[in-house]
Amino acid sequence: MRQLIIGPEREALRRLRERVANPSLRTEDVSEVVAESIHRRREQSGDEALSAALSPTIETALRESVRKDPGTLADALFPVMGPAIRRSILETLRSFLESFNQVLDQSLSWQGLKWRVEALRTGRSFTEVALLHSLVFRVEQVFLIHKRTGLPIGQVVAPAVAMQDPSLVSGMLSAIQDFVRDSFHAEQGQGINRLQVGELEVWIEDGPYAILAAVIRGVPPRILRERMAECLEDIHREFSERLERFDGDTAPFAAVPHVLSCCLDAKFKEEPRRPRYAYAWVTGGLLFCLLGGFLGWREWQFHRWNQLASTLRAQPGFVLTSFGRGNGRFTFYGLRDPLAADPLGFVQAAQLNPARAEFHWAAYYALDDAIVQQRAASILAPPPGVTLTVKEGVLRLAGTPTAKWMSDLRARALLVPGIRGVEIPLEISPERLSFSETRDAVQNTVVKFPLASATLSVSEHNSLRELSAELKSLLESAPALHTKVRVEVVGHSDTTGAEAANQNLSQRRADRVASELIRLGIPAGALHPKGVSSAEPVRPEDSDANRQFNRSATFHISVAPGL
């Protein structure tokens, strides 16, 4: 019976006991509900207890994870770390640059100097002094104060402002508010809304649960008051319940500073416009232009003189060793051949002021062809109609010089500095010239005879002796001139008498002269005597004197190329 009644319960109890006693089964049970139960727990009593319970385990787990393999956690945190680090670095750099810019701006001006002195005098930092002077107003701190307790709920502070302890400021502000309200029996909601403490002003905005207080340096605009009121309204709208229940714990008000920051405003003085800067710019610009113009002109002048120097360098007979500028003058040092052109001529040709040129030349013999040519002309003094040219040190002649001038020309020319050689064309070689002269002299010679005679007078003997010397030189120089010489001895007679007799007479006269010349040493083969009677008169027979010229013998020398 008993078994029947409580049998199933006992069986169930046994199974339950077994289940409780068996850890693996229990684990299984718990695993089914663990997520759900954590969720429920959080809903019921908030995060704190659960977080407190879990945090040691999580901390240990994290530590263990890092100890085992730091990579896992590093990988997980990587997307968070990068931006955070970048942001932090950027922020630091930005604030550094800002302060650096400002300091540069202010420390280089007269005003900056004044501020620096003031900073030294008052013991404040330069930044502070600079800020105070360039500030119209700045909200330095904003406090949200819980009205009932006078405790601070949140605060924001402007960069680089030394923060007062919010608890003390909040306390004092609410104490003062209370004091004033008590003293003047003011209604709730009435009280101080503005305090002035030296350079600081405190603006107070009163709300049902909280007070907004802004510490301001300078003269704030009216609109700031409205902004504060709006800010306080926003806070009351968002946090009213929490404000009412506030018991000193600021954790639920973490978002308050963000709301307050809209009141952190500042305005700086605009730099006054300085018209004198415009003058300075114009004056500076003019000066700059003048200076630029002067320098440009100077440079242009120098350029022109430099070009002159280049011209001189290129001129024959000049060696420019140095060229410089000093005391407004241009100085040239170098060598100049006395025959070279006058340098002042180049100065004038370049339209430069000769008074500014200063030449220091040492004389020398230039070996330029042009100069050597001039030198040769001045030393050798060629006769008119003769030109001298010099090319690469070799003197060349052109024109018809006299044999006399030509006689020792080669030797004289080689004494001229710069002449290394002489080139004389064959037709005006001294040999040929003297050959021609001798030939002309011989051909102009007339050997006169008495009337109807072929007998030589004493004087004609003598002149034939001289002639024979000339003929000898002609004959001797002919081979060197590559010519063959044929000397015709031509006998003449006047027209008086019979033609046959005259023919005979003229032939005898020619033979007589030829034989005399042969006697004087002229080879017989070179002489060809012939009588022409009166057929080739030396002179027209218009007078006795001229008739005498036709009773004669003359010479005709023919020259033919040969050998």
Binding site: K147, T149, L151, D165, G171, A175, D178, F179, D247, G248
Partner: protein, 166 residues
């Protein structure tokens, strides 16, 4: 951080300001400063399990010329009631102040401190003063702002009491 407003109550010249100074800055000054209205200080107190920022409102000691401004007590989480062992009247004053405080802002946690225990031989008190206060269910401590005795203890006990009540 958790913040708590604490007031100092007591008769004129019982040593409230000195106690605060001792607690806040750990320096004692013999120069007595008459507190004008209120003076505010702050101290981070470490209780058993958490830190609390105590904002100490040092109220003017009530005398014949000036009354305590009860509005200062508004919003306080508790107060330290101070009397001077060398002046019997200050104890009576403390009792009446506690009564008045209850009327003004309702029941608040507080600790009573009999100050100037460094001058204990010169104390001018009825022998049963402690029994009298015990009957009122007051927590009573002895302290000396001059030697530092009992100062830290008084503030910490008050903090614990406040935290226990909240």
């Amino acid at each position: 951080m958790l913040q708590k407003k604490i007031c100092m109550l007591g008769a004129f010249a019982v040593g409230k300001t000195s106690l605060v100074r001792r607690f806040v800055e750990s320096i004692y000054s013999d120069v007595y400063q008459t507190t004008v209205g209120v003076k505010i200080d702050k101290k981070i107190a470490q209780t058993d399990d958490r830190e609390v920022a105590l904002v100490l409102w040092d109220l003017y000691g009530e005398d014949d010329f000036q009354k305590t401004r009860w509005s200062y007590l508004k919003g306080a989480s508790g107060y330290l009631l101070v009397a001077d062992g060398t002046r019997r009247a200050t104890l009576d004053k403390a009792i009446s102040l506690a009564q008045r405080a209850r009327e003004e802002v309702g029941p608040l946690p507080f600790i009573f401190v009999m100050n100037k225990c460094d001058l204990a031989p010169d104390w001018d008190l009825e022998p049963d003063w402690e029994a009298r206060l015990a009957a009122l269910n007051w927590t009573t401590l002895r302290s000396s702002a001059k030697s530092g005795e009992g100062v830290e203890e008084a503030f910490l006990q008050l903090t614990r009491k406040i935290l226990a009540g909240s």
